[in-house]
Each structure stands twice: as structure tokens, then as C-alpha cells.
Amino acid sequence: MIKFLLRKEFKQIIRNPFLPRMIFIFPLMVLLVFPWAASYEIKNLNLSVIDNDHSPYSRRLTEKIVSSNYFRLTNVSANYKQALKSIEKKQSDVILEIPPHFEKDLVNKQSAKVMVSANAVNGMKGGMSMTYLVSIVTDFNSEITDELLGGAASSSDSKPTIQIDSQYKFNPHLNYRVFMVPALIVLILTQLCGFLPAISIVFEKELGTMEQINVSPVPKTTFILAKLIPFWIIGFLVITIGSAIAWAVYGLVPAGYYSTIYLFAGIYILTVSGLGLVVSNYAQTLQQAMFVIFFFMLVFIMLSGLYTPIDSMPEWAKWVASFNPLKHFMVVMRSVYLKGSNPLQLSKELFALIGFAIFFNVWAVLSYRKKN
């Protein structure tokens, strides 16, 4: 019986004027365009300087900041008000104000101030520009100290220094695309295998063909299975297209095995499609189904660690996120692509996803009612 049902489902999808095209065009568009948009990388912060001192030291400080790779001098203002205007017009991100008698104070009173004001609407950007700037000022400070102490700098030998060197594992060139492309593949898979099942049953309800299924001897499980399998195959198709583009366009191959990806993808597709079918079972109209699945998709995506790190979330949100199948699959894709993890190391995610898959699909079977 399932053979015939499957044939019906496939025909319904293929003969739809819109769906088959969508399945191919959507991944292509997303993967070709959006990896280029996704970067937090902070360089070229725009700096506004108010130099009230006009001394050699104040000029040297400014030069030192500009010659670091982080800042670009975009505005020189005479006073704070002007500088603030430049922030309001989005011409600069951070203001450095050097007070009058900066050099004199430093030499004579042995202490001088500088004022740093950063635009912190985007807290991360503000924080970074502030810390970069302060660390350059600190560097400048020790440079000047060495100079001023001059010959007496025998002290610089006894000055304790800690050398720090950093090493970046798994993504040594800090390439953001390596991080985003696997995540975008997950995103595409989630959207296609979540939205499409969510409309598949309610669509038949609106069309009236559901009635025919309900009066047929098709068992509930068979019906749900017949709805599920096409999306499973579409999902595999999508992930294959995705990995192919990742390889062909971005030269990305997983550090681990494709088989691991397919194993997890197989379980994951069942999870989201199962959720989609549950939504479709409860919905009375197409619009309701779309809104509800849209709600889940958006929550899943935003709380998946795709854009903002899970670690930074408050505890309760982390707890909520642990019920997010997308989060688990996101971890899997990134670990396999970047770290080369195997299913054993990802066993936590494996069990979580299997659990979700069973939960949603059993629910999908139970919530399908032949009687109204």
C-alpha cells in the first residue's frame, strides 16, 4: 500500500509548478550569496580624534593607533560635541580625546589622562573598539616610560615580561566562511524539510482530498510514513547539493567523514519533518500551519548558536536551547566539518536527535485523526 501512497506523494510534489524549482534554487541562492554577508570581523573601526594638546606625544599616540590595523582615522574634531556629531552621523565608531597639557602632565606630574568614548549600541563592537584602543594606549605608555627612564632603563631588564602567543585550532586562518557554510547548509535543510511537511497535510485538507484518505483503509502509520519518506529523500538531495557547493565554490570538505554527516542528517530530517507533520495535523488552514511552523523555525534558528554563541546566553535560555534539535545538528555539522569528530564523540547529540525524531514522529502518528 505504501508504494502507491509514495507514488502519489511524489507526483504531487513533482507536478506542483513551484516546489521542484524551489528545492534546487533555494540552496543555490543561499549558499552562493549569503556566506559573503556573514562576517563579524571587526577591522577598520572608524576613529575620531580630538587632540587638544597638539604635542609630539599626542601626535605619536594618534599615529600609533592609526598604524595599527584596527583603526581608520575618519574624523578630526575640535571639541567633543563635534566628535559626537560624527558618531551620530555614523562617520565614526569611537572617540579619542587627548586633553590639553597631556604631554606636560605626563612628564611633570607623571600621570595623564585620555578619554575614550565608544558607540556601544552594538555592545560587542563597542566593547572591542574600546579594548583595542585601551591596549594600544597601554602599549604607548610603556614605550614612553622606557624612553623617559632612558639610560636608567637597566630596570627594563629586571622588568618582568610575560610573552603570550596564541594559536588557533581547527580554523587557523580564522576564516568566517568555514564557520558559516556548514551552518547555512543546516539552515536550508531545516527550512525545506520543516516548511514543506507543515503544509503537506493541511493542503490536502483545504483541497478536500484528505476526505478520500480518511475513508480509505490506509493505516495511520503508513499514511504518515508515506508523507515522511519524500521529504527524507528531498533532504538527502538538499544536503548533497549543499556539500557539493561547499566543496566546489568554497573548497570546503569535512575534516571528518561524509558518512557521519549523512547519518546525522538522516535522523535530523526525520525530526524536523516530523514536527512539520504535527503542525500540519493540528492546523485548520494553510495560513495557520505556515505561521506556527514559521514560529518554530525562527526560534530554532535564533537559539541554535548559528549567529550568537550559546555560551553567552543566560542559563534558562541554554536550557531551552537544549530542546532545540537544530542546535544539536548545528554542533554536529560544525564539528564534523572543522574538527573531524566522529559519531562516538558526538554521542550526546546522536541520542538527543534520535530522541526528538521518535518523539515528533510518534506524535505525528497519534495526532493524525481520521475522524473530525
Binding site: Q110, A118, A120, G126, F195, Q288, V320
Partner: protein, 368 residues
């Protein structure tokens, strides 16, 4: 005019009589704004750190304490040989390993030079650069302490001020973004089926043979959704001010004005999709699924637009959310006046005109 009002009433009945959908439409933004407002932040907090030391000396343990005391780090593990580094990363126990060289304190004291290696899990390159930077800063500050013990007479003291967002709350950045995203997606999804549904149900025929002008049909379709979206806007605002504690620093009137304009643009966008799509499914998939990723990625809500390559910056300027989010940030967070958002308002007004214009053109008075 009377005609128009009776049609608007008809559209209201359409929507109000579907109680479930109304509930979904009103509840959805509430849950989302609260969830996202609290949970989304790009700041590095509580990064798990593992420490590799072979000797337990004072200098290294003071650095470890300093790391642990900062909001950025949580020291979760101490390991004792280099082979364990690999397992720490593989099992995702820590994102950063701080490696002190052997006899760290001794070397620091006697030779004046000692070595620390920071090994970061750079799967997330952005987080990795931030937390290694913070870690180096903390270690440097320890070094400064040592230096000032060794007397460092010349001091430049930076006085730091964080403008507009002194606590550096993630919500200040994300609330305008989430507001812009939720409004455009929900609005577009609502109106996207308005016309195509009548086509599919066959009631379009009745509409077309009525003496209504197309513009009236379009306006009467938009009006009830406009009211509904304003309710949504109001609840989101109330929640962000009273629950998320994001203040409205600027003029509330300008905020409302630009929001109404934006809602209108979003509804018109949905309507355009509706006149172009042939089926409800296509209309809903385009407005729900098709718009979601571009709006998220190109509106500047997550990734700063100025970091994008120029062609994408150009593409992003056709996303209405980009202009709205920028305007909301200026008014709500920075507290600037209406004159600072003239450009955004202009662009949105232009978009509204163009979208309604095309919908009118595409609106077919004849049945095929």
C-alpha cells in the same frame, strides 16, 4: 467611500472570525521578543577555559584566579600534560586552553621572562579572536601589576565611556533588529495570501465584477492587517521597555511614525507577492521561507552591513528592514531626533510607493 468602508468591514470579518489564527498572530511576537531579547548576545561571556600547568606556583595561580574572576571566563578544568589538550577540544569541554610553560613563576622571577601559550578553539573565528584578546589583556594586566610593584612612574590613564549603552546589553542591539525582522515577516506572510486565496477559492471573480476600483480592493485588504500589526508593534514595544528594559531614548512620536511607514511597506510587499503568486503555497513559501534568510542576514540585525562586500551592501539596501532597524537604533537607543532619520524615512516612503505601484499594475482585472 462607503463602498470602501464596507469592504474594509468584510476584510475585518474574514480575519476576526478565524480565532485561532488571530491568537497565533498576537502571541507569536510576544514569545519571540522575550526569548530573543534575553538570549541573543554576541558578547563573549563565561567562556570555558582549561589550564595546563605542570607546577602549581603563585604567579600562575594568580593569573588563573584573575581569568576566573572576569566575566569572560570560567576555568573549568586543570590538565597536566599536552596530550589532554586534544581531548579537551574534541569533547568540547573548553574553548580555550591556557598553557603555562614549565617552572613558570621561577622563570618569571629569575630571568624576567616567561611564556604563556593560548590555544583557542577557532571553530567560531569571531568568538575565538575576542576571547584570546580578552585573555591576553588579563594576562597583561597582571604583568602591569608586577611592573608597578617594580615601580612604573609614568602612567597614562584611559577614561572609558560607553555611549548609549553603558552596560553593553545585548538587548539594546538586538531588540531593534528583532522588531524589524518579526514585523516584516509577519506582515508579509499575512497579506501574501490575501489576494491569491480569493483566486484559489473562486471569490476573486465576485470581487472583480464588483464596481470597486483595484486601489480600493488593495487598501481594504491592507487595513485590517495594518491594525493587527500596530497591536503587535505596541506589545513588542511594551515588552521591550518594561521587560527587557530597553529605554526609548528619543521621540516616541518619530518612532511610531517610522514604524507605521515600515508596517505599510511590509504589508505592501506581501500584497505584491500575493498578486504575483499563482497559489497560496507559493505565496506563503516565498514570504515566510524566502524572506527569512535575506532579512536575517542582510538587514544588519546580526552582521554589520559595513563589513559586507560592496555588491552585497547594494543588495542589502533593497531590504526594507535594513532602513527600519537603522532608524529604530537612532531614535530608540541613541535618542536622536527625526532629522537624523530623514534618509531612512525617505527610502521607506519610496519603497511603499513603488510596491503599491507595482501591485496595482500586476493586479489583474480580468480572469484568465
Amino acid at each position: 467611500m462607503k463602498q470602501l468602508f464596507s469592504f474594509i468591514r468584510k476584510e475585518f470579518y474574514h480575519i476576526l472570525r478565524d480565532k485561532t489564527t488571530i491568537m497565533i498572530l498576537l502571541l507569536m511576537p510576544i514569545i519571540q521578543i522575550i526569548l530573543f531579547g534575553f538570549a541573543l548576545t554576541t558578547e563573549v561571556k563565561d567562556t570555558q577555559v582549561a589550564v595546563l600547568t605542570t607546577t602549581n606556583d603563585e604567579a600562575s595561580s594568580r593569573i588563573i584566579d584573575k581569568l576566573n574572576a572576569s566575566a569572560y571566563f570560567d576555568v573549568v578544568a586543570k590538565i597536566h600534560n599536552e596530550d589532554e589538550i586534544q581531548t579537551v577540544f574534541r569533547d568540547a569541554k573548553a574553548k580555550l586552553v591556557v598553557v603555562f610553560e614549565d617552572h613558570f613563576a621561577e622563570k618569571l622571577r629569575h630571568t624576567g621572562k616567561a611564556h604563556i601559550q593560548l590555544i583557542a578553539d577557532a571553530t567560531d573565528p569571531n568568538a575565538a579572536t575576542s576571547f584570546t584578546f580578552y585573555a591576553s589583556n588579563i594576562i597583561n594586566s597582571y604583568q602591569l601589576e608586577l611592573m608597578s610593584e617594580a615601580k612604573n612612574p609614568y602612567q597614562i590613564i584611559p577614561e572609558v565611556k560607553m555611549l548609549y549603552n553603558p552596560q553593553m546589553e545585548g538587548a539594546f542591539n538586538f531588540v531593534p533588529g528583532v522588531l524589524g525582522m518579526i514585523l516584516i515577516l509577519i506582515c508579509a506572510m499575512m497579506t501574501s495570501i490575501a489576494i491569491v486565496r480569493e483566486k484559489e477559492m473562486g471569490t476573486m471573480e465576485i470581487l472583480l465584477v464588483s464596481p470597486m476600483k483595484p486601489i480600493y480592493t488593495i487598501l481594504s485588504k491592507i487595513t485590517p492587517y495594518f491594525v493587527l500589526s500596530c497591536v503587535n508593534f505596541a506589545t513588542i514595544m511594551l515588552l521591550s521597555v518594561f521587560v527587557l528594559k530597553v529605554p526609548i531614548a528619543g521621540s516616541f512620536l518619530s518612532l511610531i511614525l517610522v514604524s507605521f511607514l515600515y508596517i505599510f511597506v511590509a504589508l505592501a510587499l506581501g500584497l505584491l507577492i500575493s498578486t504575483m503568486a499563482s497559489t497560496q503555497i507559493a505565496a506563503m513559501l516565498i514570504s515566510g521561507m524566502g524572506l527569512m534568510i535575506p532579512v536575517m542576514l542582510l538587514s544588519g540585525m546580526i552582521f554589520p552591513i559595513e563589513n559586507m562586500p560592496v555588491p552585497l551592501q547594494i543588495v542589502s539596501s533593497i531590504i526594507p528592514a535594513r532602513w527600519y532597524i537603522s532608524a529604530v537604533k537612532s531614535i530608540m537607543i541613541q535618542g536622536l531626533g527625526f532629522s537624523s532619520i530623514l534618509k531612512e524615512v525617505g527610502v521607506l516612503a519610496l519603497m511603499a510607493t513603488v510596491l503599491i505601484g507595482i501591485s496595482m499594475k500586476k493586479f489583474k482585472v480580468r480572469l484568465e
